[in-house]
């Protein structure tokens, strides 16, 4: 059994605005084990980035408020920690990779110093040792000629190379947990594939746990061990990557899968879309927040919030459709056909 690294319990984050209190995260719970990758997927505004920033305690207060819950890292709750204590956790235990590598780096500072700065802050070593380590990191993240690159500025790097530098900085103090917030969204597909390979490679070597935030389901299928689907500040479906892609239970997950074109089975029919747009989180709707966009919504969806129903040992979904008394709604035909196609191909390959 692998070790549990992080446990988030019923986390609630609010933001005070002039218009009212925005309930950005409304009771999120999940666990993360050593060496595994959890992908959090959802649309913009679903609370996925707020959740990850909250774990790093990067929510500005005010306007942000930790309205409840715990973030337990190796048995210690991070929420009550002071800023001083937290600055030891950041970098040392948890590090973050951001979306846009241009804004994440300091344009006026040589790349080498940006890496050694982190090493010197967290480790008691001399600056020449720090430099050696930084060079090793640059090599680890696949930057050729590290000696030369060490003395260059960020503008001399391409987008993909910059993101490698950001990853090197994140790894500088050997964090146990790496939070990657849309790390490849700003990159070209070919570069994206390289960065994903790199992250998986590093994880294999150092047993780092990764929280990977993205809206791209293809990327999720590529990197994740487990997946949490977020909608309107809550996790609505949670399971292993196979659970989510081959046996999805929540209508929102169906919608997400259906809105991607099916390249493999070559169907050119109209895409299944999710009608409407996400709810206003100043006044979250009563009942199931997804109900107004859900073609399978029942009367109870507008009155009571559904609990997390357990589908299997690893798989949970928050929809009344899983209640024993609910009518049996089969997974929409287009998606069922697509999944069948994927699985069949796998069988054929296996033979």
């Amino acid at each position: 059994m692998t070790k549990k690294l992080l446990e988030v319990n019923d986390l609630k984050i609010n933001f005070k605005t002039y218009a009212g209190v925005v309930q950005a995260v409304r009771g999120v719970s999940f666990e993360l084990y050593e060496g595994e990758t959890l992908a959090i997927v959802g649309e913009s505004g679903s609370g996925k980035s707020v959740t990850s920033n909250a774990i790093m305690k990067l929510i500005p207060q005010p306007p942000g408020v930790y309205a409840g819950g715990q973030i337990v890292l190796e048995g210690r709750d991070l929420i009550p920690l002071s800023e001083k204590e937290m600055s030891k956790v950041r970098g040392n235990d948890i590090a973050m990779i951001f979306q846009d590598p241009m804004t994440a780096l300091n344009p006026t500072m040589r790349v080498g110093r940006q890496i050694t700065e982190v090493i010197l802050k967290h480790k008691k070593i001399s600056s020449s040792e720090a430099k050696d380590r930084a060079l090793k990191l640059l090599e680890l993240v696949g930057i050729p000629m590290p000696e030369k690159r060490f003395r260059q500025y960020p503008h001399e790097f391409s987008g993909g190379m910059r993101q490698r530098v950001v990853i090197a900085i994140a790894l500088a103090a050997d964090p146990k947990l790496l939070i990657a917030d849309e790390p490849t969204t700003a990159l070209d597909v070919t570069i994206q594939a390289q960065i994903l390979e790199l992250m998986k490679d590093i994880q294999k070597k150092s047993k780092t746990s990764i929280i990977f935030i993205t809206h791209d389901l293809g990327v999720v299928a590529n990197v994740a061990d487990r997946v949490a689907v977020m909608y309107a500040g809550q996790i609505v479906e949670y399971g292993t990557v196979n659970d989510i892609f081959y046996n999805p239970k929540h209508p929102y997950t169906w919608g997400l899968l259906g809105s991607m074109p099916d390249l493999k089975n070559n169907v050119k029919e109209e895409l299944r879309t999710i009608p409407g747009s996400p709810p206003d989180l100043i006044h979250p709707p009563q009942g199931d927040a997804f109900a107004p966009r859900n073609e399978f919504a029942m009367a109870i969806d507008y009155e009571m919030e559904p609990p997390m129903f357990q589908v299997s040992e690893t798989h949970y979904a928050k929809t009344w459709l899983l209640h024993p008394d609910a009518p049996k709604i089969p997974i929409p035909e287009e998606i069922a056909r697509r999944i069948e196609g994927y699985l069949k191909e796998e069988q054929d390959d296996g033979k």
Binding site: T190, N242, F245, M260
Partner: protein
């Protein structure tokens, strides 16, 4: 065979000093047929947006010829001819936040073209047309009086589309129209683009870096790399039978929502080979063109 709506012949678009130009687009040729969607893909900086912008005359081209309905679009034109051309060809932009004037209502933004072209002078008729356009893109008539900030990203992109449709064009250049949108909204906008294409018999040039959506929406695909079209063909053909190593590399990098495939995915790296003067587009299979020299063609054909 459908008629050629647009012919691009040896288009070159250079920027910077004439002595040491940046060759954003370096001698590309292709045709777009009436009623079809041509997808233009490639990584950032490959010249795909520049191509779109040159076609709609946002740049003065360095060399080559662009014929629209048989007429050279960059040849000297009278004001009247220019207006006519602008009516026929419209553009949808990437960022719906930047492409709408925040001080204009949706109705004003959509009807700007009416004033320029002196259409629908009667107030009632004008309102009627704005309403029809809004409904055509899935919004309400009442939305005409709202400002851009009152709409979500997907709705803004719909206004951008309504604006492009306002003068009844026959050809629309969509430059990354869905890249800035969420997945579920992307699907809504793509469905909308397909529907209005059918209803109005539109021709699209669809520029994007997201290969999966491009394959879905396009009849044919052109793959660009460093200012050149390296492969051109029907979208299924390009996807199932890529020949140019760059296309192969690009396709091998697209992640699919299928974990079992992803676990065994192997990316094919691309190593660029400089080509000499003799390189050109070869028709390798019927309607499937690949760019390269004779010896490259032989090499790639053998590997297939």
């Amino acid at each position: 065979m459908a008629n050629k709506l647009l012919e691009v012949k040896n288009l070159k678009q250079y920027f910077g000093s004439p002595n040491n130009p940046i060759k954003a687009v370096d001698g590309i040729s292709f045709d777009i047929y009436e009623g079809e969607t041509l997808g233009l893909v490639g990584e950032s900086g490959c010249g795909k947006s520049t191509t779109g912008r040159s076609i709609i005359r946002l740049y003065d081209i360095t060399d080559g010829e662009i014929l629209f309905k048989g007429k050279n679009i960059h040849a000297g034109k009278s004001r009247k001819e220019l207006k006519e051309f602008n009516r026929e060809m419209q553009m949808i932009f990437q960022d719906p936040y930047a492409s709408l004037n925040p001080r204009m209502t949706a109705g004003e933004a959509i009807s700007e073209g009416f004033d320029i072209h002196g259409l629908y002078k009667d107030k009632k008729e004008r309102r009627e047309h704005i309403g029809n356009l809004l409904e055509a893109v899935g919004l309400n008539r009442e939305h005409a009086n709202r400002y851009a900030h009152e709409f979500s990203g997907g709705q803004r992109q719909r206004i951008g589309i309504a604006r492009a449709l306002s003068l009844n064009p026959s050809f629309i250049i969509a430059d990354e129209p869905i890249s800035a949108l969420d997945v579920s909204i992307q699907a809504q906008v793509v469905n909308l683009l397909k529907r209005i294409q059918k209803e109005r018999n539109l021709t699209y040039l669809f520029i994007a870096h997201d290969l999966s959506m491009v394959k879905y929406i396009s009849d044919r695909i052109a793959v660009m790399y460093r200012g050149k079209i390296v492969e051109l063909g029907e979208s299924d053909e390009i996807y199932n039978n890529p020949i140019h190593p760059y296309t192969k590399s690009l396709l091998s990098a697209v992640p699919l929502p299928d974990p079992l495939t992803e676990r065994v995915r192997e990316r094919i790296p691309y190593v660029h080979e400089e080509t000499d003067e003799s390189a050109k587009l070869h028709e390798v299979l019927p309607k499937h063109f690949v760019y390269g020299t004779e010896s490259q063609m032989n090499k790639w054909n053998k590997r297939r």
